[in-house]
Structures are given as C-alpha cells and as structure tokens.
C-alpha cells in the first residue's frame, strides 16, 4: 500500500497487525483456525484411513470398539470423517469465497469506476442475482450439473458475489473523488493503473473483512447443500456427514453433532478473525484505542 493521503509514522499494515494482535478475541479465532487447519491438512497424513470404510456396526455410539466418536448409518467412523472431511469443507469454503470475491470485486470496481450506463447495466445485473434466493439458486445449479466438488464450489461462488460487488462499487465511488486519484489522472496514469493500483488498495480494508466472512458463509452454504442431499457423495465433508445422517438425528446424536460442531467452530473462528480485522483495519476505531 504505497499511496496514502495522510502521513504516517509506521507502515499501515504493520500497525494493523499490531492492532489485530492486541485483540484477544481475534487472536483466539486465529489460533482456533490454525488448529482446525492443522487437523484437516496434517491429520490425514498422520492418521491414515479411509473415511468411507465400514469399521463398526451402523450407528454405534461413541466409545464403541473401532469408533471412538461412534459410527454413522453406514457404519463409517465419525472421527475419521471429521479428520478427512475438513479438507473438502475448507476447500469449498476458500475456493467458493475466492470465486465470489473475484467476481464481486471485478464487477463492483468496473461499475464504480466507470459509472453511468456501465454502472447502471452492471447494477441491474447484480440485482438480478440479488433477488434470487441464493440457496435455492445454488440448489438449482448443483442439480442441473450433478453434485461434484467443482459444481458445488462454482454454485456457491456464483450465487454469493453480489454483496462484495455492492461494497466494492461503494468504495470505488467514494475513493475516485479523492485528490490523490485526481493527481494520478493529472499525470496521465492509465485507467487500469488507477483502478487496480490506486483505488483498489485503498478500498481493501472493508473488502478483506468481507472476504473473510465470505469463507464462513461458503462453509455454511456447503453444509446446507449437503444437508439437503446435494453434496458430492465421493468426497467426505462435514456437510456430507450431517446430510447423510440427518434422519438419524434423534436416535443417534453423535453422527450429526460432531461434524456440526466442527462447522460451528470453523465458522466461529473465521468470523472472529473477520471481526478482529475489521477493528484493526478501520482507521476510526484505531484512533479510539
């Protein structure tokens, strides 16, 4: 972030990091997320098993032989599912959030910068996506192209970008009126440079927060789709675990509770980080402290 209007004693991103580290809640979230990432990424390397293997009688309760946290309706181990299911869930969360942020920022930036008819057209297009109930729309997409990890990621990405687009557009509309943008224009900078190198970095703080929250939202989305039976049946994910055992919720709580808890913790961690980032990156709050 090279361009800023106000002189500073310290690099702003360093200061933000310091602010972030000072908030115990945000750090707690980060620690939690790192722990979950470790379990999901390193766990399968340490604990080698197939989450689809039948290891015990279906719906064995926790502490049964071979199934520490119980087994699901097919007799698959819940613990193995938790360790292996994280990869798919986190991949979907991150990839879908990335897609939604890329689409959102591109459309929002173009609309906000150019304004006029371009803005008008792009915003009507955005509204078209906004008025569709997003879960229903994602369900239609997944149903149309059959549920695989890729289609689930694409579907979530495609339905969840309008918020980011709106936010980006608002930031661009605001920042493009600032003097430093006028200065860049005056020295003859090209449009691409102004958009991506001048305005975008200054619009980033709220976008980073929104992207972080988008990861949590995407994970919940994946869980909802799987809950409705629209997850990829070949990739163990926490959502799939809940989805395939949801009918047994009343008789066998463990098959849905543990994956549900993992999703809850992940989304909580991501939200806490988002909150911490918001506090750290918001100049007004920064001054208050």
């Amino acid at each position: 972030m090279s361009v800023a209007g106000i002189p500073r004693t310290e690099h702003p991103s360093l200061e933000a990091m310091r602010m972030f580290a000072r908030s115990p809640v945000a750090v707690g979230g980060l620690v939690l997320l790192i722990a979950i990432l470790l379990v999901s990424l390193v766990g399968p390397l340490v604990y080698v098993a197939d989450p689809f293997d039948i290891v015990a009688a279906p719906l064995s309760p926790p502490f049964s032989d071979g199934a520490l946290l119980g087994s699901d309706q097919q007799g698959r181990d819940v613990l193995t599912g938790l360790i292996y299911g994280g990869r798919a869930t986190l991949t979907v969360g991150a990839a879908a959030a990335l897609i939604s942020v890329v689409i959102g920022i591109t459309i929002g930036a173009v609309a906000g910068y150019f304004g006029g008819t371009v803005d008008e057209a792009l915003m009507r297009f955005t509204e078209f996506f906004q008025v569709l109930p997003s879960l229903l729309f994602a369900m239609v997409l997944v149903t149309l192209f059959s549920p695989t990890l890729t289609t689930v990621v694409l579907a979530i990405g495609v339905v969840s970008w309008p918020g980011t687009a709106r936010l980006t557009r608002a930031e661009f509309l605001k920042i493009k009126q600032y003097d430093f943008v006028a200065a860049e224009l005056a020295i003859g900078a090209r449009r691409g440079r102004i958009m991506w190198k001048v305005i975008l970095p200054n619009a980033l703080p709220p976008l980073v927060v929104s992207a972080t929250l988008a990861v949590g939202a995407a994970i919940l989305f994946e869980a909802s789709l799987s809950f409705l039976g629209l997850g990829d049946p070949n990739r163990m994910s926490w959502g799939l675990m809940i989805g395939s055992s949801r009918s047994y919720m009343l008789s066998s709580w463990w098959a849905v509770t543990f994956p549900g808890l993992m999703i809850f913790l992940t989304v909580l961690a991501v939200s806490l980080i988002g909150d911490g980032l918001n506090d750290a990156l918001n100049p007004k709050l920064r001054e208050r402290r």
Binding site: D50, F52, D53, I54, A57, P58, Q73, Q74, G75, R76, T143, L144, F145, S146, P147, D232, P233, N234, S244, S247, Y248
Partner: protein
Amino acid sequence: MRRAIAAFITTLALAAAATASAQEPRRGGTLVMGQSTGTTSFNNAVGSGTGIMVPGAQIFASPVMHDDKWNPKPYLAESWELSPDSLSMTLHLRKDAVFHDGKPVTSEDVAFSILTIRDNHPFNTMLAPVERVDTPDAATAIIRLKHPHPALLYAMGPPLMPILPKHIYGDGRPIKTHPNNTRDVVGSGPFKLVEFKPGDQIVLERFDRFFIKDRPYLDRIILKTYPDSQTSILELEAGRLLLQPFFNRVLELDRAKTNPQLVITNEGYAAVGGINWLLFNNKRKPFDDVRVRQAFAYAIDRDFIVKALHKGLSKVATGPIHSGFPQYSADVTRYSLNLKKAEELLDAAGLKKGPDGIRLKVTCDYYPGDEDGQKRLAEYMKPALKKIGIEVEVRAPADFAAWAKRMATKDFDISMDAAFAWGDPVIGVNRTYLSTNIRPLVFTNNAQYENPKVDELLGAAGREPDAAKRKALYGEFQKIVTADLPLFWLTELPYHTIYNKRVHNPPTTIWGTASPMLDVWLSEK
C-alpha cells in the same frame, strides 16, 4: 363345582360373543390413505405405477381378482374357462354389473378394454398374444390367443385390466390423453371419483349400485399425496392418516413398529415382486467377463445390507424372480461374502492390483427416489468393493430423467436399479433379460445381456400352459442367469403397509392396495 363350571362356560361364551361383535364389520367411515407418488391419471389401462394403479383398481372393476394365495376369484367374470388347446379363454360376465353412469357392463366393453390395453399399456408383453376378442352375446367374451399364454390369468387382475366403458373411452379420441382419464372417470368398481386435486388429494366415494351386495364397507377413501416419508409417519402417528401402503423407508418403519396405535405388515406385495440389483454394463470392458461380475458378487455382503442397512426389513434376493412368486426357484448359484475368491477371480481375469492397491476404477449410478433401496446401497458399494481393489465413484444423478438417460444411452459402468414383476414373469421379469428387449429406454435389458438359451427358455415358459412344466422352465432360466450374472440381485424391496389399528381387513391379497378394497372397514376407536 358344577356352578363354577357353569360360570366358567358363561364367561367363555360372553368373551366369545364380545370378540365376535368386535370383529363384526361395520359400514361407513372415511379411510385416509397416503401415497408417495402423485396421481397423473386414473386410467390404468394405459399407465402403470402405484399412483395410477391404486386409485384405478378402486374405480374400475376387472374380470378377476386374486386372493393372497395367487388363486383367481370371480369379479366381473362369474366364471371362466380355458379351451383344451389353451388358445381361447371364455369369460362369463355378471349380468347385474353397471358403470357409474348407470349403463350395463357388457362383453363389448370387455373386448374394447382388452384391445385398448394390448395396444397401449406400457407392459407390452402382457397381452401381446391376444389375437382378438369375440363377443357372442352381451355376457360372454372369448379371448382368442395366438399361442398359450398362462400369464393371462394375472393380466386380468385389478391393477392390470380395468374394464373401461366403451361408450365413453371408445369415442375415437386418443386413449392416452383422453379427458376422462383424469375427470368424470367412469368405471364399474366399488368407488367413484368425486374430487381430484393433482398433487394433493383424491376423494373416492362409495358406488351404491356396485354389483357385489353390501360391499364396500367404507363410505369414502381419501388418497393424500405425501412426497416426504417423514410427513406420512407424523400424520400416521397423529391418527389423521390411517393407512400408508408401498412404504419402504427403513427408519420410519422401525419407528412405526414401536407405536402401539400402528401396525406394519409386508403382506400384500407378493405379486408386486420388487427386487433391486446392481446392473453391470455387460457390453463394456471389463464387465463382459463373467469372472469380474462374479467377483463383485462375492465382495458385496448382502447380509450386511439386509441386517444393518435395512434393519432386517428386507430379504436377500437370490435370483431374478421374487421368492413370493410361484415360479421362484431356490436351486440357483448362490453368492455369499468371500473376498478371497473375489480377488482370485479378478486376478484370473487379468485385473491385477496396481502399486496403489487399485485394480479398477468404476462409476456407480443409482435410480434416484429410493433412499434405502438405491442411494444408500450405491454408497455402500464404495467401501465394500474397495476391499478387493475396486475404486467406486458414486455418480449422483440430478433427477430421474438424468439417470434414465444414462440407462437409455448405456452410459454407465455399474448402476443400482430395481423393477417390479407385477404378477407374472412374462409381465415384469422378461424385460430385463430378453436380448430382444435391448432398447434405448429405461427399465429394459440395460445390462445388454444376450443368451439365446435364456431367450428360448423365457419364450417357452411364457407359452407353457402346464404350471409344473412352466415352473421347471423358469427354474432352468434362474439357474442360467444366476451363473451368468448379467446383474447382481441384492434385496427384495422392503415394501410395507403401515396402518392404524382402527383399520380392519387391510388389503393383503397378492396385489395389496392395487386391488379393490371391498372388505376393509373401520372401527370407532
């Protein structure tokens, strides 16, 4: 002492009288029945499926009915006889039967209906041998056959042969889209249609001029559509729904078992004969090798499926014919879990394990809409077949049409599949095994199995009038296909009826609720 004995006898007599009065059928009442598939038409002369057959069998009467032992019983036909050469079946019709519009049922109507069914019904083998129907007088119809056709006795049953009034359905309009298929339906059965809200409910009312005296007992049948099995079970528990036929969700059945107000039974599905299986694409490598198909069979633990996944509510299917059928034979090649043998067979077929322990990667499709009978079994294939080095990728179909298209275009490795037999092998079993039925359609010979001996046996058995000889022919057929294994039978589908204790004489004949509900009655509480 004598007094005590007298008192004892009186008590016994009183108790007997009390039970007798409790069992005395009672007129009146409304039976609320659930169905999982919505009704799109009531004309079961041109359509199949429980959504059409169950209401159709109440509205239309058929020449014969069947009891729970496969015996034909008089219905519209008082009696019938087969000529010695088995080439003509003479039906003697009741003279007092009338349609819901008051016109009499005559042999003209019977002839019209039989030919309509022959030419339009999706089960095209059912009446294919019918050459013509003669009507010497109003109460006699003679069905002339091209060759002996013993399946005819079942094809004349309630779900398959509704007698349509010729003066309504024979008006020249195309029968499959006839307006009277869905409104102002006119039959001669025990109930008439009074209200039809597609996707919601059907109201059938007692037909007071029905030709069997004092029947039916019920005043009204309301058929409600519940696409979600959990809704049906909640409605059953609340006592708002009294009878739910064709129910196969294991979890809800298990739950109904423990409810003192509800009874579950698997009687009434004998002729339906539903079996599910794993279909191999016999024309695609390596499934063209019988050793590979057999290896799959030795790796799949059907006892686990029945006991663990179906909670003991289904039964292992040993071959192509349901064990409730008279033609069933237990003398077949049996397959039970034997991983060692499975691996040997795969090795012999040249499918060696790679460095990652994988011999073969296959995709597995399944017919959507039957969670316990299809989807969960497809998911089970993954861990089961992994043990012998086969990696399974479950291809979840988007909807029925998507799966049907894969079947029709033979774009699959293996798939879960199922079919109903509907009373006779000729009607519902042959279609899966005859080489002449390899067609670009769902529910045909999608394994693309070709065995001239099987074609010949099925042809001969279909024409064999002698029941014992016929059974022997089907026995040989079952022996051959269980050895060839074009597909691997898993379970007899766990179809059950759940009903409230208020319902007496629930339909338990071979056709179950796809048969007229003449004897069903309701008690107060």
